[in-house]
């Protein structure tokens, strides 16, 4: 190891770790080191569907998502790398009366916060997505500024911009031990040597629980496989991300032409399995060919999976750990790490360097589980 001493060590080379590295460096922090046990974007970021939405059911999530989109809109310029942002909107379909009522509330909240979402009829939904089979659809919501970006490009864009600002990124370097003394971070040992540091940021995604154990604390997160598949590229069929909570699916055509789709298996076991199953491919094909019958003629070329890092209320856990000074958590994104990264990385950098954030995130602290102050977000898959 070339570096013996760092001001901050970040664990994890996904979008969370790389964007925090960039924002810390941009705010003037020197001597930042990032460790990634594999290569950049090899974990959840490079495996995600890369959707970006502002349609949430709690004020905090709406505000975070709204601010994240604003950063995404200028990110290609800011980082000097095309992140292939495509704002084709999110069309969220309601199949039950309960959803219709919830979506009306969501839209009222979103509009009050300046998000351009609207509640629409089935006919309007068909105008936005002409190949939609609207059978069973009662209504929908649409937000035209939601969309999608290329997760690889965004991850590499942050990493390269961070490196230009002096951040040292070590790929294929696995963290083995975190030393603490009197409840303070002292050092991080990897398979390539030890670095002394007062601050460690846990951005290890699916493996953040393991990193927590190394620092001597239990983080109430678990990992869970989510599968996904992609088709061959075809001519443009529809622009928005098509999504349903009760139907349990999401599906979007990327600017490249391929169509990406996934759903969450309620019976999925907790753990680190990232294999693929034919049962998933079959059920996915059944779901999406029913919603967009044209897709019957499109071929799947690849399927894979990645890990959601789930927290008890499916909301991120952010902030300094109350028992270990200098141990910061940016974990438990529960499937929303990519879309939130631009804003939460900025807030994490503010928290670490200034001790306060421009948007309050204190509700996302790890202490909320003990206090029983869980965040109830109705609009998650």
């Amino acid at each position: 190891m070339v570096i013996k001493r760092a001001s901050v060590v970040i664990i994890g080379g996904g979008i969370t770790g790389c964007s925090i590295a960039y924002n810390l460096a941009k705010m003037g922090c020197k001597n930042i080191v990032l460790f990634e046990k594999n290569s950049l974007a090899s974990g959840a970021t490079g495996r995600c569907a890369a959707g970006i939405r502002q349609q949430f059911g709690t004020e905090m999530n709406c505000i975070l998502a709204r601010e994240s989109i604003k950063i995404f809109e200028n990110l290609s310029q800011e980082l000097d790398y095309d992140i292939e942002l495509n704002q084709g909107g999110y069309l969220i379909l309601a199949y039950t009366e309960k959803e219709v009522n919830q979506f009306k509330k969501n839209v009222a909240l979103e509009q009050s916060l300046g998000i351009d979402a609207r509640f629409i009829t089935v006919e309007e939904a068909k105008e936005i997505v002409p190949p939609l089979n609207a059978e069973g659809v009662l209504a929908a919501t649409f937000c035209p500024t939601d969309g999608h970006a290329n997760p690889f490009n965004t991850n590499f864009a942050y990493a390269e911009a961070a490196q230009r600002l002096g951040v040292k990124i070590y790929n294929f370097t696995e963290v083995k031990e975190i030393k603490t003394e009197n409840n303070r971070i002292v050092s991080v040992s990897t398979d390539r040597g030890e670095v002394f540091t007062p601050i460690v940021i846990n951005a290890a995604g699916g493996y953040s629980g393991e990193i927590g154990k190394m620092a001597g604390v239990e983080i109430p997160v678990y990992s869970q496989r989510h599968q996904i598949l992609i088709t061959e590229p075809v001519d443009p069929l529809f622009r928005p991300m098509l999504m349903s909570f009760s139907g349990n699916f999401y599906c979007q055509q990327t600017p490249h032409g391929s169509i990406i789709m996934g759903f969450g298996d309620p019976n999925e076991l907790k753990g680190y399995d990232i294999g693929s199953s034919w049962q998933f491919a079959r059920e996915m094909a059944q779901k999406m060919t029913a919603v967009v019958p044209l897709l019957k003629e499109v071929s799947m070329v690849r399927q894979w999976s990645g890990l959601y890092n789930m927290s008890p209320d499916s909301q991120p856990i952010m902030g300094e750990h109350p028992q270990v000074n200098g141990f910061y958590l940016a974990v438990g994104y529960s499937g929303h790490g990519f879309m939130l990264a631009p804003v939460v990385s900025q807030l994490m950098a503010e928290l670490i360097l200034k001790g306060q954030t421009s948007i309050p995130i204190d509700k996302l602290d790890i202490g909320r589980f003990e206090r029983g102050e869980l965040i109830i977000e109705p609009s998650v898959v």
């Binding site: 950049l40 690889f152 034919w278 491919a281 003629e297 399927q303």
Partner: protein, 90 residues
């Protein structure tokens, strides 16, 4: 090899694009695939994988068998979603 030579025929990725990724320090097939899209098309790298592995080996002064091979992902051949949906699992 000339920069304009197409290495990945499904995604139209040239040697120049792959060379640039290598020179930036991305020296695994997984990284090159993620940056350039080489190997992500209809044939899933059946054609270009070996060429890129050979070039990585040359660039890194390694033997080809020392270069990490990415995960092979199903299906082996493209399958229509209609065909997949119709499979009742028997």
């Amino acid at each position: 090899m000339k920069d304009e030579i197409i290495i990945c025929r499904c995604e139209d990725i040239t040697w120049g694009e792959i060379r640039q990724a290598l020179e930036k320090g991305y020296t695994t097939l997984d990284e090159i695939k993620r940056i350039t899209r080489a190997g992500m098309g209809r044939c899933q790298g059946t054609t270009c994988r070996r060429i890129i592995l050979r070039e990585i080996a040359k660039f890194c002064h390694k033997k080809i068998e020392e270069v990490a091979v990415p995960t092979f992902r199903p299906p082996t051949k493209p399958v229509k979603l209609g065909t997949l949906a119709g499979d009742d699992g028997d």
